[in-house]
Symmetry: C2
Subunit: 135 residues, 2 copies
Amino acid sequence: MTTRRRSNCPISFTLDLIGDRWSLLILRDLVFGRARFYRQLLESGEGIATNVLAERLRRLERVGLLSKRRDPDDRKRFIYSLTPKGLDTLPILLEMILWGAKYDPRTAAPPEFVARLRKDRERVLAEVRARAEEK
Amino acid sequence: MTTRRRSNCPISFTLDLIGDRWSLLILRDLVFGRARFYRQLLESGEGIATNVLAERLRRLERVGLLSKRRDPDDRKRFIYSLTPKGLDTLPILLEMILWGAKYDPRTAAPPEFVARLRKDRERVLAEVRARAEEK
DNA sequence: CCGGATCCGTTTCGATACTG
DNA sequence: CAGTATCGAAACGGATCCGG
């Protein structure tokens, strides 16, 4: 995961930041409020290794997609949260969810969520965003 | 690029298919009509290696995102084109373009295209789709 | 316990050279 | 033109260890 893209064509840069095997999954878990702590991210079901997770978190923080602070309620752990820049990847995530829902029977996206997303994209976007922000 | 994802959570599967360093760039070039041939894809500015491109094209074909046929006008080369499934990645690509346009000064997305995309997403989507389909 | 760091065997990547 | 063969470099993943 080093930066090595040469082109300045659209998408190229974006993939340089989040176009690896794990970053978008980490963002997904943070965006949808499934995880806030290292431990939760680690156990969110994808099977990422500890060293890889640590490296990705460092990277995502460095490029300004998330921030890390100590949990005031439990000083021995950290809270990872999205920056506005990180939260703005939500539309990308939503489109991936839609695509997966359409083409992969294996994907267990909640059907009612997908249906609402298809019908009223802007509203769902605003809702998820609001929920993520209050955390 | 083997399939090794274990989770059936949303996005996980999608990334299994197109969540690598190159697939979305290949799809971008096909979607936006910048390339149809191996050679064009190779020289589209990103610096992909020949073996990697060949492997990705094989993979994308196998999972049903693109198809390959011999060029009737020049029997010694092949035309790569998108399937409907491949073309349906367009919304993902567009969101990545928007995100990149917002956060990366290096990205050279045509400003008027980005502006139109922001203003009238559905229309731009339909236009790009139509152009891609007629090829 | 929590959040990693380190070590290490295995897999994948990628640049280049070469081929049908 | 459209790839394949090769091979070193990088990334991955599992296990284990460690400071707080």
